[in-house]
């Protein structure tokens, strides 16, 4: 019940009308970002981060996290109306969402998607409210070895649960670690991989990388696909909303399943995208109307949205309690915390109660506000998509350049951003995942220093990672995750030999 009193205190923080205004501004910006190609949750927040330096941390995190919720909502609009996923996690929403729009049921599909998003987020924020303080209290006892073990688990989970080839996941992740190591070594003060260049002393900032990888890279991909935005028009009125809402209660089992899948994938850094696919697949398997999936089933729109939003929201749980973000956008928010002088991790719940509970309370309100904003303003955002790409693209590129510059007031960062843009384009095309790269870049220094602190404690003996049941089981679990692709491949091959008829 301690959580409830803290939560009420958090709502008190929100009583400041300025914070409510920031919330609505954030959500409107977020939906816009979610709708526009080339701007997404991660790079949208990264670009706007420097603008919040002058705000109080509470207001800043409320605005930035609201942008995130808005982007999660916004992705569904383009998926349904234009068959173009605005965000990777809304790809699964296109499967049934666009067919519904083609049948003239766009309003129903949008309402279903938005409400699904809301349900997913609500489930996840309940989880955060009651689980976060417990985890934080538990994590207060963590030493460097435990922290390194959790980092290890995070990264191994990418390998074990990623949809991409394991070797490529590892390569992308190691690139992130290598880039993170550039600059001055925090422990010994030695220069690493600077090659005598003063510019490289600063190292690579992940915000610049995020803007390049997700922003510029996305523009290049969009250009390649030569998208002509030809969408269905959207009309949402109170009657459609009401009719759709009446249908939703009978999907409660599916919603619960999707929310659990989403929370699981969000807390472990599987992320929103695989969560939405997994949830769609499960719904298709279990639903009575499973055969109609792909032809325009409301259930096929709601389920992936529930999971995506649950994953996106619950990604904040490990970020707040352990300092380990569950998604690239959460990683950017974590970067923000560091810039505002807050140390993410269990101590946050002790030292910055206002901040943490203000944020959690704002997730509740933000999602309610988000639902209202998207339901009422869909036509406006759909109209923005009709602006031709030859106008939108240069404007977005200019915004990306400004965003990259303002991170450190360094001109060279704009060029670095462009290089990351090309890397992002190549990686997407060759199935290298971007999330492990970004997370490794963010967490690289922290993972390394916790490793080295652990080594100082144990005087260089790796046995510290099995010195107590907790750290031992986390490390073992991480190693299992790491070899999982290999194990499943071997198992598949063994099964294949036993029953060759089934394999062919």
């Amino acid at each position: 019940m301690e959580a409830l009193t803290s939560l009420i205190g958090g709502f008190g923080v929100l009583a400041d009308p300025m914070n409510i205004i920031y919330m609505f501004v954030g959500i409107a910006l977020g939906v816009l970002i979610g709708v526009l190609p080339g701007l997404g949750g991660a790079n949208g927040v990264a670009i706007l981060l420097p603008l919040t330096f002058s705000m109080t941390p509470v207001s800043a995190i409320i605005m930035l996290s609201s942008i995130y919720w808005g982007a999660l909502f916004g992705g569904a609009i383009t998926s349904i109306l234009f068959n173009i996923p605005g965000e990777p996690w809304s790809v699964a929403t296109t499967f049934d969402g666009h067919p519904m729009a083609q049948k003239g049921k766009a309003g129903e599909a949008l309402t279903g998607a938005f409400t699904g998003s809301f349900i997913g987020a609500f489930f996840a924020v309940l989880l955060i409210t009651f689980l976060a303080p417990v985890i934080a209290k538990f994590a207060l006892q963590f030493g460097p070895a435990e922290f390194f073990a959790v980092y290890l688990l995070t990264f191994c989970a990418f390998v074990g649960m990623g949809r991409e080839p394991a070797a490529k996941v590892i390569s992308a992740m190691m690139l992130g670690f290598a880039l993170a190591a550039v600059g001055i070594d925090t422990v010994t003060g030695q220069l690493r991989m600077t090659f005598g260049s003063v510019e490289l002393l600063r190292g690579f900032d992940f915000l610049v990388a995020v803007i390049g990888l997700f922003g510029v890279g996305e523009i290049l991909l969009t250009m390649e696909e030569g998208l002509a935005f030809k969408g269905k028009s959207a009309a949402i009125n109170a009657k459609v909303v009401w009719e759709t809402w009446k249908k939703l209660p009978k999907y409660w089992v599916g919603c619960l399943r999707s929310a659990i899948v989403g929370c699981w994938m969000g807390v472990t850094p599987g992320g929103a995208t695989p969560a939405s696919f997994m949830s769609y697949g499960l719904a298709k398997k279990f639903s009575k109307n499973g055969n109609n999936f792909g032809k325009g089933e409301l259930e096929g729109v709601v389920m992936p949205e529930v999971a995506a939003h649950a994953a996106g929201t619950s990604a904040l749980l490990p970020m707040l309690t352990l300092g380990i973000p569950g998604s690239p956008t959460a990683a950017v928010l974590l970067g923000g915390l560091l810039i505002w002088g807050l140390q993410p991790g269990p101590l946050l719940f002790v030292e910055q109660k206002d901040f943490v509970w203000g944020l959690i309370a704002s997730i509740y309100l933000g999602n309610i506000a988000g639902l209202i904003v998207v339901l009422t303003t869909v036509p406006i955002f759909a109209a923005i998509l009709r602006i031709p790409f030859s106008v939108i693209a240069p404007v977005i590129l200019v915004i990306c350049a400004v965003g990259a510059y303002t991170v450190h007031n360094a001109g060279l960062d704009i060029a670095v951003m462009l290089v990351f843009g090309v890397i992002g384009y190549l990686f997407k095309k060759l199935q290298y995942p971007l999330a492990p790269l970004v997370l490794a870049l963010v967490l690289g220094d922290m993972a390394e220093s916790s490793f080295r602190q652990a080594m100082l404690v144990s005087q260089g003996h790796l046995s510290i990672f099995w010195s107590n049941p907790l750290v031992g089981s986390i490390v073992t679990l991480a190693l299992v995750m790491l070899v999982w692709p290999l194990v499943s491949k071997v198992m598949a091959r063994l099964n294949g030999h036993k029953e060759p008829a089934a394999a062919e």
């Binding site: 290598a178 070594d185 030695q190 991989m193 090659f195 400004v402 510059y405 462009l418 100082l456 260089g460």
Partner: protein
């Protein structure tokens, strides 16, 4: 994703560039080269195990080593796979579209260093709309001038975050 596989399957002859396999191998080789650089520099800093734990280059050295091994796996899989992905990496017309964005953007970034971000942005947007969008001047001017102006007001005046400026802004007294 479905669109990608959709148009890469039947590739017209004149759209051929390189196969996915070639590109996969090339990127893997780049990764390996980068890994070699990382390892050699870490070795220089000191990558062994001192009495109190790892030296400064220890962590990056193994990062480089793992990157090298993983990329070798990618390279070998790409080269010896029984079902190589011989699909076209990018159609020629698509490559042209991508370059139509990438080259002007590169020039734009260079221009920022010369004349500051506001003027460069105006030129960039105007050029893009004129070249790719074939817009009349009457439609180009408002966007090309309006966006940098809005940025200027937002950053220089409202949020007091200075952006790179050039001779024009200096002449105007900023």
């Amino acid at each position: 994703m479905s669109t990608e596989s959709g148009h890469s399957a039947p590739t017209a002859h004149n759209e051929k560039t390189v196969t996915n396999r070639t590109m996969d191998a090339a990127v893997a080789v780049l990764f390996m080269a980068l890994a070699a650089v990382v390892m050699s520099d870490s070795w220089r800093v000191g990558a062994s195990w001192a009495s109190d734990g790892p030296q400064a280059g220890y962590f990056p050295f193994y990062v480089g080593l793992i990157m090298f091994i993983a990329s070798t796996v990618t390279l070998v899989t790409a080269l010896v796979s029984r079902h190589p992905d011989l699909g076209n990496f990018v159609d020629r017309s698509q490559l042209v579209s991508v370059m139509q964005v990438l080259i002007p953007t590169t020039v734009y970034v260079g221009l920022i260093f010369l004349v500051g971000i506001y003027l460069a942005s105006a030129v960039f947007i105007a050029f893009f709309m004129w070249w790719l969008g074939k817009y009349p001047v009457a439609k180009i001017i408002p966007v090309a001038v309006g966006v940098p102006l809005a940025l200027f007001v937002m950053f220089e005046i409202w949020f007091l975050v200075p952006l790179p400026k050039g001779p024009l802004e200096t002449a105007l007294g900023y």
